[in-house]
């Protein structure tokens, strides 16, 4: 809060629901499941300008999946051949981590969002229940937020069209409408379990891996200012980036 003196950070209450709905564009989940918190940044007039939901122990009830973006090198000195390319490997790497989700902010409230995220990173240390050291289980000491990947002119994800569509022929938006966020856990069962070489994907699908939708760029900047970084994880449906940091003591600054 030190660099945003004119904003107040606090937990949401039932009185905040109408303002939250306006900010999010939909009715917020309320009341929250045990262990979760809805945090707010309010401006000098007390109006909420940024919000997020803090959710510890990600993927410990139902499995969550992400692609890890790695690298494969094929080299042969005799042929003067040295080719490297990204690879995708489906996994549950962030299981046990604290997720920041349902993030929303008012126009020009980037600084408030950054302050709110810093606050949330510090709060994550209090809410996480898994205290295993990160050398044993890397997930629980991580705080992360997912950003949506870009869509093409028709509203479809080029990444989904290049990869997911070959493994689930249904409409992803219809599945999401029906199952909520859990649809990604369901669809992961249909996706490739082995390493996928990205050169097998169309160029436009390769190009968006780890790229946030234009509408999420301000949010991405706010998260990065708070210390979250892209660490080679992407969403499985649209390859949107996962921004991550470690919730080390003092991370909130």
């Amino acid at each position: 809060m030190n660099n945003t003196p004119d904003c107040t950070l606090r937990d949401a209450t039932a009185e905040d629901l109408p303002a939250l709905q306006a900010l999010l564009g939909h009715a917020p989940a309320w009341p929250l499941p045990a262990g979760q918190r809805r945090l707010l940044a309010c401006d000098a007039t007390g109006r909420p300008v940024a919000t997020l939901r803090l959710c510890p122990d990600t993927g410990t009830a139902a499995p969550r999946y992400w692609y890890h973006v790695g690298c494969a090198v094929h080299a042969a000195a005799e042929l003067q051949l040295f080719r490297r390319q990204p690879t995708l490997l489906l996994g549950n790497d962030l299981t046990g981590a604290t997720e920041l989700l349902e993030l929303a902010m008012a126009v020009d409230a980037g600084a408030a969002m950054t302050a709110l995220v810093r606050h949330a990173i510090a709060a994550a240390a209090d809410t996480a229940t898994d205290t295993a050291p990160d050398t044993v289980k890397p997930g629980p000491t991580t705080v992360f937020a997912e950003l949506p990947g870009p869509l093409d002119g028709s509203g479809a994800s080029p990444f989904w069209a290049g990869l997911g569509r070959h493994f689930y022929t249904g409409d992803p938006r219809a599945a999401e409408a029906r199952h909520g966020d859990a649809w990604r856990s369901h669809v992961a069962a249909l996706l490739p379990r082995q390493l996928v070489y990205t050169s097998f994907l169309p160029d436009d699908a390769q190009a968006v891996i780890g790229t946030a939708a234009p509408g999420a760029l301000a949010l991405r900047a706010a998260l990065e200012r708070a210390g979250l970084q892209y660490r080679q994880h992407v969403r499985i449906d649209d390859a949107g980036p996962v921004l991550e940091c470690s919730r080390v003591p003092g991370a909130a600054g």
């Binding site: 094929h74 070959h166 689930y168 369901h186 669809v187 069962a189 097998f200």
Partner: protein, 350 residues
Amino acid sequence: MNPEDLLLRASTPADLDALERMAAASAIGITTLPANRALLADRLARSAQAFSSADDASGEEIYLFVLEDTRSGQVVGTSGIAASAGFADRFYSYRNEMVVHASAALGASNRIHTLHLCHDLTGHTLLTSFYIDPAYEQSLAPQLLSRGRLLFIAEFAERFSDRIAAESPGLADETGRCPFWDAVGRRFFGMDYPSAETLTGGRNKAYIAELMPQSPIYVPLLPDEAQWAIGQLHPVAELPFSILLDEGFDAETYVDIFDGGPTVDARVALLRTVAGSRRWSRAGAATAVHDSPWQLVANTRRGEFRVVLSRASLDRAALALDERSSHQLHSAPGEPLRAAPLQADTGSRA
């Protein structure tokens, strides 16, 4: 053409001109018959050594056979055997596997075709280098050319594996465009198929296979044209391929890692020609036997191996050969012969 004019025999270094002519005429994909005189001469020398060596087999041997029309004295076809695929290294193939991905919540269940890079066929005996002059395709000549090799394997089984495989060229055009390669290999090599062929010709494929993706390939991610090419034959290979299928080879499991052509495999003992073959002693008197069914008849000399098509007559103990076949085989009375019926049912007339 009279089938009795045809002779399949062990090649000799003197067959170099004929082999070079056939290598030039054969399609892209017959990697074991390089259009390179020096490589072919080396191949013939290795083959001559394999046929005549007094040593026990090491697995390194290659055997090249030529088909001769004894009317004209012309060599009209060739075929080969590599004793042990990937000798001293590895033999790479893609193995077809199906995985079923299912989600009850989404009501979806998909069979996903995947290709797994494998070494399953390493050490199998490999049939290679089949080429026949087109003028002889519509005759019994291809049968003799392909299956005569199997009599050699049956006779000298200790020099071969009890498992056998054969590669067939996949889809590619004259310009070297190869749908499977362009969708798979090219992404890892950055060169066209003929260039990769040249790099591997005359040496073990393992050298280049190590550059291929080690994880399974998800076939649905390949372009349609490449998907269709998996397990598809180059048209030039239809004839030898059909002979192998008739022998009992299985074409479902493996494909070539470069062009996606089918690689067939089998147990040697279950092949029709091998299972149907036996050793005979030769009846002393050669008689005219014009109405007997066709037999593939081989002598049993490794260094000077010869096979002919003959209407030999068989009784319980001995095989009677006409004088011409006997002469072609360089067979002496009392010398054992190995024969297999040309048709599956020995009772039928060819």
